[in-house]
């Protein structure tokens, strides 16, 4: 095992690496408990470098190309996994972790249902790295992977996720009664799936287990990304087959996503709301797995990329993001969920908070809508300082491509994707600060601080009232406008009196100009310093000009005052044991 290094390198090829890591980690060992997160992060960074070094230097010469390639693949995947796990969870080969791995990768089907749940294409790739970690159970799960998602009646409920598992079991009982009918209708094609499903000894009691294990039930349903083509195909196939039985299921299914969305801790989950009902209404049975996968993939891709990105060393993001969105999401989801299962303190809020950074990085790989959704999910009230130069640089890089897009649309964009009129009111400092941060990091809907009366804007409380009213379809219409409309709604909420539509439109216009102006300023500041990427220094200069940061009040003071504690440890460099500073400077 990797000792204090914190991740398990499998196989004989990794032994040298393990030895290296354990050597590095041995010095950290006595100090394990509190700063273990940071240590693991640090050691992971070093190990990452070691990982990259070893294949290139030592092994390639001695071994065949295939093994080297495999190792590089594995190393990359491990690196990704490790980075995500860097948030604190030290992966170990225990039955608990194995079971967790199995549950994560298991297809969503019950023993009763003959057909197994779909596993889209990337799943096998993802399962492989994870299976390397959990050698035992997951191998069996790879069997039913590419089967079309046919019987998804109980799986249907999977979109319910989170706390819906308890209801799912109840629902499933009802479904089981209806099962024999559907099974018969399907015919002999199920025989193979039956046999394969029998092999899934570990995966079978997915829902009932959740009832017995509330801790796992709370686990976010981060699964695989959706192969859109296969998903649509499945929808078409199953819609015909399951139209009659599916009708009865629409009602309960429809309620589930909204419930989960409302229970969602992330403030800006509107896109999910918008997406999931539409998806579910169309095709309850077959779409469940796809939809849930899509939602999960979306929500957790961004979320998982958040911590992953955050924990990554500067060199990592491009690798992780470019191209392998699905695989990455899955790989990340896996350790991500594991970490969340075991209640890592900072992970969840970090995910939310880091979302801004995550968006910036994932900008290129993710679709705009997803980015926007992530931006909204992240940004919320958490004005975030770019954690490190890396994220801002990534954001800057994508800014050019996204310039025309609205704030949240260009979330991955430079910190200030949205532009507004120059700040009029510097008085409402907290709101302003949030505005700066959010703009600085994400184009996510900036609070309409300039126009709001100087009231103490509590981020969460501010978000809650408008969130309940957020319409789903509207969120999908115009990504450029969605963020602005959100802030306009906030404005109307704080106005405490009814507002005309025209007034709201004017507010939106003003906010738009304001954020545009802010973006331009940041860009000019960066250019002034001879850089092409916007950095935290630029943001600090902007805030200084706004009067938020003074000689008496520094940026760190503002961070401490207005941001949650989790962001503080992300933004303010702090020295940790082992002669390491986090975040790296």
């Amino acid at each position: 095992m990797g000792g204090a290094g914190g991740f398990w390198v499998p196989g004989p090829e990794g032994k040298g690496l393990q030895a290296k890591i354990s050597d590095e980690g041995s010095s950290l060992h006595p100090l394990l408990p509190p700063p273990c997160i940071i240590q693991s992060c640090w050691s992971l960074h070093r190990a990452q470098r070691a990982l990259l070094e070893t294949p290139s230097s030592r092994r390639l010469s001695s071994q065949t190309k295939t093994t080297a390639r495999r190792r590089s693949q594995r190393i990359r995947s491990i690196g990704k996994l490790a980075h995500v796990q860097a948030s604190g969870y030290l992966e170990e080969q225990t039955p608990r972790t194995l079971l967790k791995n199995i549950l994560l990768t298991a297809p969503e089907s019950s023993i009763v249902m003959p057909k197994s749940v779909v596993k889209p294409g990337p799943a096998p790739q993802v399962v492989q790295p994870s299976s390397r970690e959990s050698s035992r159970g997951s191998l069996e799960l790879q069997l039913p992977e590419l089967e079309p998602p046919t019987t998804l009646a109980p799986g249907l409920l999977a979109p319910g996720r989170r706390k819906q598992r308890l209801r799912l079991s109840v629902f499933q009982e009802g479904m089981d009664k209806g099962l024999p009918l559907s099974q018969e209708s399907r015919g002999n094609a199920d025989a193979s799936s039956l046999t394969s499903s029998l092999n899934l000894t570990f995966a079978t009691p997915l829902q009932p287990q959740s009832v017995q294990r509330p801790g796992l039930a709370r686990r976010p349903p981060t699964r695989r990304a959706v192969d859109v083509g296969a998903f649509l195909q499945d929808l078409r196939d199953t819609s015909l087959a399951l139209a009659p039985p599916g009708e009865s299921l629409t009602a309960p299914v429809a309620t589930l996503p909204t419930d989960t969305v409302l229970e969602d801790t992330q403030p800006f989950s509107q896109p999910l709301v918008g997406r999931s009902p539409s998806v579910h209404h169309s095709l309850p049975c077959p779409s469940h797995s796809g939809a849930e996968d899509a939602e999960r993939a979306v929500s957790h891709r961004t979320r998982s990329t958040g911590p992953r990105l955050q924990n990554n060393s500067p060199g990592k993001p491009a690798q992780l993001l470019a191209g392998k969105a699905e695989v990455d999401a899955l790989a990340m989801n896996f350790p991500n969920t594991s970490s969340s299962i075991f209640g890592e303190v900072g992970v969840e809020p970090l995910q939310d908070g880091v979302g801004g950074e995550a968006e910036e990085r994932t900008e290129k790989s993710l679709s705009m809508s997803k980015v926007k959704e992530a931006a909204r999910a992240r940004g919320s009230a958490r004005a975030q300082e770019p954690e490190g130069h890396t994220q801002v640089t990534e954001a800057e890089g994508s800014q050019g491509a996204i310039e025309t897009k609205e704030p949240e649309g260009s979330s991955g964009d430079c910190p200030t994707s949205s532009r507004r009129v120059s700040p009029e009111l510097a008085s409402s400092t907290p709101e302003f600060l949030q505005a700066k941060r959010i703009q600085g990091l994400e184009p996510a809907p900036p609070p309409s601080t300039a126009v709001l009366p100087s009231e103490p804007l509590e981020p969460l409380s501010a978000r809650l009232p408008p969130r309940a009213r957020t319409p789903g379809p509207k969120a999908c219409q115009n990504p450029y406008k969605t963020g602005l409309s959100h802030y306009a709604k906030l404005f109307s909420f704080y106005a405490k009196m009814p507002m005309e539509k025209k007034a709201l439109e004017m507010v939106e216009k003003c906010l738009d100009k304001y954020f545009q102006h802010l973006c331009d300023d940041l860009e000019m500041f960066a250019a002034h310093a001879g850089r092409k990427t916007v950095r935290p220094e630029d943001l600090e200069l902007l805030m200084r000009r706004q009067g938020l940061v003074t000689d008496q009040v520094s940026l760190h003071v503002l961070v401490e005052r207005h941001l949650p504690l989790e962001y503080r440890q992300l933004l303010i460099p702090c020295a940790f044991s082992g002669n390491s500073v986090f975040p790296a400077q």
Binding site: M524, F525, H528, A529, G530, D538, L541, R544, R545
Partner: protein, 138 residues
């Protein structure tokens, strides 16, 4: 020490007042010109307000310029800093860039002249040296 501080403060204060007075006078002159041009009268309070705003804005400008220079990791304020400061107003920015180019050209010409002069001087000095050497030899 306290007396010195007090004296310094007084000195600074009086210096500030003199600066303000100078600004006020300049603003007054400009307002007179505009009044003649547009045939509009300026009240004294208006001129005082304008001069006060100008003074405060100049303070802001100075601080911003210093911040910009520090942001670019320089210890001297540059024309680039000034341009960044003036970016808000398009016409002003244009004017400043034109002036900047003029000054740059002027400096180049100056440098060219200086080079010529120095070359000539060198020639003269060498000639003189040679002449001196020749003379001494002779």
């Amino acid at each position: 020490m306290e007396e010195d501080d007090g004296a310094e403060e007084q000195q600074r204060f009086s210096y500030r007042q003199r600066l303000k007075a100078a600004v006020h006078y300049t603003v007054g002159c400009l307002c007179e010109e505009v009044a003649l041009d547009k045939e509009i009268q300026f009240s004294k309070q208006a001129i005082a307000a304008i001069s006060e705003v100008t003074f405060r804005q100049c303070e802001n400008f100075a601080k911003d310029l210093e911040m910009f220079a520090r942001h670019a990791k320089r210890s001297t304020i540059n024309t680039e800093d000034v341009k960044l400061l003036a970016r808000r107003s398009n016409s002003l920015l244009k004017y400043i860039t034109e002036k900047n180019e003029e000054i740059a050209q002027f400096n180049l010409e100056r440098k060219a002249k200086k080079k010529k002069k120095s070359e000539d001087e060198n020639k003269n000095s060498t000639e003189q040296a040679e002449a001196g050497v020749v003379e001494s030899e002779n």
